[in-house]
Each structure stands twice: as structure tokens, then as C-alpha cells.
């Protein structure tokens, strides 16, 4: 797994996302997979900076990733206090629909095969398994 330090700089974030997605493209993942990985990656990076580093905006996050023919793995670690992902309100409940925030984690879980957090909650590991052909 390749690991990089990623500062809160839009161009560098975009460059890293492009690098990962180019690797996905080279291995011929379908368009839907690319969409899913891009969305989950974007949400996870945003969460790390916005929630993990809200008190330390100049601190980079750590991103690890590997792209293989059958699976893509992405790990994102921030250096904030962490959180309990089980305490994030369900944004699909009627009472939460009109809330402008709180959908990032839900989208990560919807689009990735698995999303797990470290006990402290400051590191998220996402796995995307390539779907069978003609799925």
C-alpha cells in the first residue's frame, strides 16, 4: 500500500484522487466502480479535514491506497480526537432529510464494499471489490 501525506490543498487532493483513479482506469474497472471510488474517496478526505482536523486545519492527513485487479483499498487517517461512527445520525430518516449535512459517511458505506473505523475513529479503511462482469 502506498502512503502519502496529504495537505488540505484542493490541487493536491485532486492530484491524488486523479492518481488513484488513473490506476483504477488502467485496470479496466467499469465506469460505475470509478464513480463509487471517487465519491467515497472524496467524502472520506473531506470528513478527515472537516471533522478530524477542524481545530488544526494546517495538518495533513495520511492516505494509504492500493489498486489491484480485484480490489481497491483506501485508508485515511487524521490526527484529530476521533469520533464514534455509530453516533452519526441516519440522514435518510424523515426528520433528517432537510438537514444539509451528515451524508458523507452514509455515501461511503453505500458505495464501498466495506468501511471500517479504528477504535478511536480517526482512521477509516475502505475496501472496494470489483463487481463480477455483467453484474
Amino acid at each position: 500500500m502506498r502512503v502519502v501525506e496529504l495537505p488540505c490543498d484542493r490541487r493536491q487532493i485532486q492530484a491524488l484522487e486523479d492518481e488513484i483513479l488513473e490506476a483504477v482506469d488502467r485496470l479496466g474497472y467499469p465506469k460505475a466502480s470509478r464513480f463509487a471510488i471517487k465519491l467515497a474517496l472524496e467524502e472520506a478526505v473531506t470528513n478527515a479535514f472537516k471533522h478530524g482536523h477542524c481545530d488544526c486545519p494546517d495538518t495533513p492527513i495520511r492516505v494509504g491506497w492500493s489498486v489491484e485487479p480485484a480490489v481497491v483499498r483506501i485508508e485515511i487517517e487524521d490526527f484529530g480526537p476521533g469520533f464514534n461512527p455509530d453516533h452519526v445520525p441516519d440522514p435518510t430518516l424523515d426528520e433528517n432529510l432537510a438537514n444539509p449535512s451528515g451524508r458523507g459517511l452514509m455515501l461511503m458505506r453505500a458505495y464501498m464494499t466495506s468501511v471500517t473505523h479504528s477504535p478511536r475513529g480517526n482512521r477509516v479503511s475502505m475496501v472496494y471489490e470489483r463487481p463480477p462482469e455483467n453484474a
Binding site: R10, E43, R103
Partner: protein, 118 residues
């Protein structure tokens, strides 16, 4: 300080303001905030605003963009206006379905369908 370039293409058609995005990816929070501010100005410029947001050419959007749309929708409703979304790519339409935001917005396949619905 130079004025930030608009991220929207805005046209007006029979009392309806149509908005299209310049960017194919609506991901960056700073950009999304700027888009939200631009659209807020459009809404505030009319009594009972009628707004059509077209997602033609949009390939990706983030949850922050969804949040901005919700804020826009809330603002339009407080002014007794109407909002329609149109031309949403199937993959992005699925994001609206997964988040159940299809219940919040009136979404049409095409601009023409949306215009007829006002």
C-alpha cells in the same frame, strides 16, 4: 481583489431562471459555497422565485453539494418559490435515491419536462 469567476451559466425563460454548472465535478467545498451564494442572490432577486437547476454535464457531486441544494430548496420554500432539478446523470440520480433526497426535490429527466411542470 478580483471578483471570483461565476461557476454558473444563468438564463431566463418566461419567469423561470435556469442555472447550469460550469464544472463537471461539484466537489470542492469552497466552490460549492460560492455556487450556493450565487444561487442565493438569484433567489433573493425575485418574489416567489422559480428556479430550474440543470445537471447537464455534471459527472460528480459530493454530499456537500447535496447540502447546498437542500439549503437552496429551504430558501426557495421560504419565499414561496419553486425549484426543479433536471438532466441528472443516472449515477448521480442514484445518489439522490440512496440518500432519499428524491423525496425532497422535484426531479425531471429533461429541461423541457421541468419547464412544463412550473
Amino acid at each position: 481583489m478580483p471578483q471570483e469567476q461565476s461557476r454558473l451559466r444563468v438564463t431566463r425563460d418566461g419567469g423561470v431562471t435556469q442555472v447550469e454548472f460550469v464544472d463537471r465535478n461539484i466537489l470542492d467545498e469552497a466552490n460549492i459555497q460560492h455556487i450556493g451564494e450565487e444561487i442565493a442572490e438569484i433567489i433573493e432577486a425575485s418574489d416567489e422565485p422559480r428556479l430550474l437547476i440543470s445537471f447537464a454535464n455534471v459527472d460528480h457531486l459530493s454530499s456537500a453539494a447535496l447540502g447546498a441544494l437542500i439549503t437552496i430548496n429551504n430558501k426557495i420554500r421560504t419565499r414561496n418559490g419553486a425549484l426543479r432539478l433536471a438532466n441528472i446523470d443516472p449515477q448521480i440520480r442514484e445518489v439522490f435515491q440512496i440518500t432519499r433526497l428524491e423525496r425532497l426535490f422535484e426531479i425531471h429527466d429533461t429541461t423541457d419536462d421541468a419547464m412544463r411542470s412550473f
